[in-house]
Symmetry: C2
Subunit: 340 residues, 2 copies
């Protein structure tokens, strides 16, 4: 009545070993799947069976924390995605989900959270950071990279213990602007209020230069900013389109806001692209799949290659920091077709 009713604690490797009448080492060999490897000691099929039975019977689950502390590997991939509702984030998530499956890695998303504090608390075999403050974070990233394998998406940072993923926009954004100004004279820009970040300022810069090349004036009322979320983007687009002399084309600094702009236009009973042409940046899956499909400038094949890279890094922690570059191109689709 006493010895049997003690703590119904979770089964450990030791419990299993006792039940199977073998040592903990044997259990470990069986349960961590080293049986097949040539360098490791073998286990007879008979004992292997006994061990598996015991484990099953006791409902044994390996303690991942204990494994991690011993091996230094967590089989975890962390994705810090700054704006989860952005199709860019969803595309990353989807591609990663497909890529990790065979590798036995669990992808976890850190959403709308500050990675700066979270990463210190919770490590992973590889951490992807989708947005860093290019100036302010450079040092912090280098420091974090000493204890985590970091992959940072950045246009300007150089690898420094961490890998850098970069999309080589090159002249493609200029092409996108030229694509619009070839047909339109009233070209507006829809961009994030957070244009301090180099990412956005580069994109906004392409807009300004594009106007210059075409000999068009930069009109203050043709530049609208939004504030992070979808609603805000939608409203910014409505404001842009509801003015007396509305633009006939919008250069949006992300697919996310471009999609919101298309919805806003349709809400105002405008035809896209008839009444309004829209170009996005990023070439997301969602933009490609929507109807009308979004003309966008961005890398192609980006998400899958990124996902593969992350998986490779998770397994092979070492290796020198790399730069992964994705050349961009203009992908002309329905929302802004080529000039007739």
């Amino acid at each position: 009545m006493n010895s049997a009713s003690v703590s119904p604690r979770r089964a450990t490797i030791r419990t299993v070993a006792q039940a199977a009448g073998v040592s903990t080492a044997t259990v470990s060999y069986v349960l961590s799947g080293r049986s097949g490897r040539t360098d490791a000691p073998g286990v007879s099929t008979e004992t292997e069976l006994r061990v598996r039975e015991a484990a099953l019977g006791l409902g044994y689950r390996p303690n991942q924390a204990a494994r991690t502390i011993r091996t230094g590997k967590s089989n975890l991939m962390m994705l810090s995605l700054t704006m989860l509702s952005d199709p860019w984030s969803l595309s990353v998530s989807k591609a990663v989900g497909a890529a990790v499956a065979p590798a036995g890695i669990t992808p976890m998303i850190l959403a709308d959270t500050d990675w700066r504090t979270a990463i210190k608390r919770q490590g992973a075999d590889v951490v992807f950071i989708d947005a860093a403050d290019e100036e302010g974070d450079a040092q912090l990233l280098a420091e974090l990279a000493r204890s985590n394998r970091l992959v940072v998406f950045s246009e300007t940072l150089e690898p420094n213990g961490f890998d850098v993923v970069r999309s080589l926009a090159g002249t493609s954004m200029d092409q996108a602007m030229d694509h619009l100004t070839a047909v339109h004279t009233k070209v507006a820009c829809l961009t994030s209020a957070n244009s301090l970040r180099s990412l956005n300022s580069v994109r906004y810069g392409a807009y300004v230069r594009g106007l210059e090349r075409a000999g068009l004036e930069l009109r203050e009322n043709y530049v609208a900013t939004f504030d992070g979320d979808e609603i805000s983007a939608y409203e910014a687009a409505v404001t842009l389109l509801r003015q007396p002399d509305p633009p006939t084309a919008i250069f949006a600094t992300s697919d996310f806001v471009a999609i919101a702009a298309v919805h806003a236009a349709q809400r105002l009973r405008l035809d896209v692209p008839g009444d309004l042409a829209v170009v996005g940046i990023g070439n997301t899956l969602q933009g490609e799949a929507m109807a009308p499909s979004l003309t966008s400038v961005g890398p192609s094949g980006f998400f899958d290659r990124l996902a593969d890279f992350l998986v490779r890094r998770a397994k092979d922690q070492s290796g020198p920091p790399q730069v992964l570059e994705f050349p961009w191109q203009l992908l002309v689709r329905d929302t802004a077709p080529a000039a007739p």
Copy 2:
């Protein structure tokens, strides 16, 4: 040239202890913030300072896996969100993000992934599961609940070692249908193809019964199903609206698909709610914030209360399994206003 250049390994509590000239216990006391507690031994301000300095100088970061193995707490909250692009998921994520901050818990999202395998691999202080197969998973959930604190969203499951979060739809879906049939006779339904799940069949059932109550016929061409993603939902709505005798109202079985329907209608130059009324289910933030705002039936205050509950559970692992119920109501907004 040799003794100094050895392994630049990550600093541990021992390294810090040596550098500060104290014991590892003292370092632990200082760095795990137990200094203030009354029951714990105190540390003189002087040594505390020395320890902190040493830790900073060495770039010490506590090893979370080691902590977890010792204390049994990971300070991790896991959210399994089946369809990340669903505004319901985004609402959960956002509410949780706000709620965890003061508690020092890191929320991690398991997106579009099979929680059944992932949870076994990676534990957390509390795991939220947004969709379980009510029949097939009942036993698995009970088993997993023995090693994880589980919170399951389910209309029909009863707590069994795990907590259940449930929205008490009650008669509110019927109200929503009556709301539509009071004005419309051509009421369509837009629902997930995966109607095997009780969640969807209940919702679809409300549609069927609503038609019956109003004396309307169930027309096959007024029921459209979609396949999981946004694009598919959008296309299903377009199909529904493009037929010869299109519906003037849509009963959508989620806010997600309702929003897609509104976009589709606007794309077809239909006025919402003038030409088409739309009602969603779920009462998401995104539906509430969109323009025109979405009439929806669902719980109010759901997400914040859910987030609070999850945080409470993460801190206080014990406590008997609970049912958390959220009574629903019909929230009449722009996409389906009240009858004149």
